[in-house]
Symmetry: C2
Subunit: 160 residues, 2 copies
Amino acid sequence: VDYQKPRTSAVILQQYQMIHDIYVLLDDGDRRALRPFGLTMAQYRVLESLHTSHGQRLTTLSERLLRAKSTITRIIDQLERDGLVVRTADDDDRRAQRVVLTPAGADLLERARGVHQDALNVRVSAALSVPEQEQFRALLNKLHDSLVDTLDEMGQAVAP
Amino acid sequence: VDYQKPRTSAVILQQYQMIHDIYVLLDDGDRRALRPFGLTMAQYRVLESLHTSHGQRLTTLSERLLRAKSTITRIIDQLERDGLVVRTADDDDRRAQRVVLTPAGADLLERARGVHQDALNVRVSAALSVPEQEQFRALLNKLHDSLVDTLDEMGQAVAP
DNA sequence: CAAGATTGAGGAATCAATCTTT
DNA sequence: AAAGATTGATTCCTCAATCTTG
């Protein structure tokens, strides 16, 4: 018996694999919902973030969406090529680019969001009651914030 | 006001983005923990699955790990090249391949698992108390099973 | 030098097509 | 025809290096 190195409980391992699988399952449904609009999940999340907060920098998007800066650059390239967003110069800092949703982008987001949300709603509502959803949300929040904290302590690592 | 099309509540949307972010955050930590062993997360999960159930078919691995069959083929290629697993002929069905862990593979898994679990343990324990973890696990389980069910109803879609 | 952004190279995952066996 | 598995082409993402500006 080893008294010195407490091993991870089976509960935690199950949790992790479960989170992983749930992510994959949700991702699978998302891709199906967004495909008719020609959007990947990453592109969709960028549009959503821009809708919430206009004129973000690429670096800000990288931090919020937990993607490498180069990934964001390429996603914006695609979206701009499709006429959904536009890069704008930053008056205060000539290094930075501000990204703005075009009318076409806002329109596409609006339509995609409807389909995406309905599909998500069906799947989650079938699984959890409203009180359970609230309870679930609270636990996710707690875990999320804690993970972000430990990430910060190690020096930003996701998007170098 | 629109009485006909109930939209998704903000709660559900927050949940989804939270799950997505948590996945990315955990994945980031995993990659750091497994890199010294030369393993990706997908490879690690294959080894784990083979340790639990010996001699699985590639198709079975594809279904359990929610990855496309071609993805599994390539992961097994890599693991076999590194001498961690071996493809074995199936006596009953000459189309099928049974995958088995080699002693080297079992050994590497053992060592990687220790580091991976400790790293995960630290991060999750810092976030949730033991009762919370148990509560969390129950909700994840419920959501997971429900998502699998709705996936099955739509005809297998993840790995065509 | 540090920060914002981009580019090239490489890995990982998927789709569609193909081959063999049932 | 259908199932198990593989291959080729393509997309997505990341890392490391680079360019410009603060």
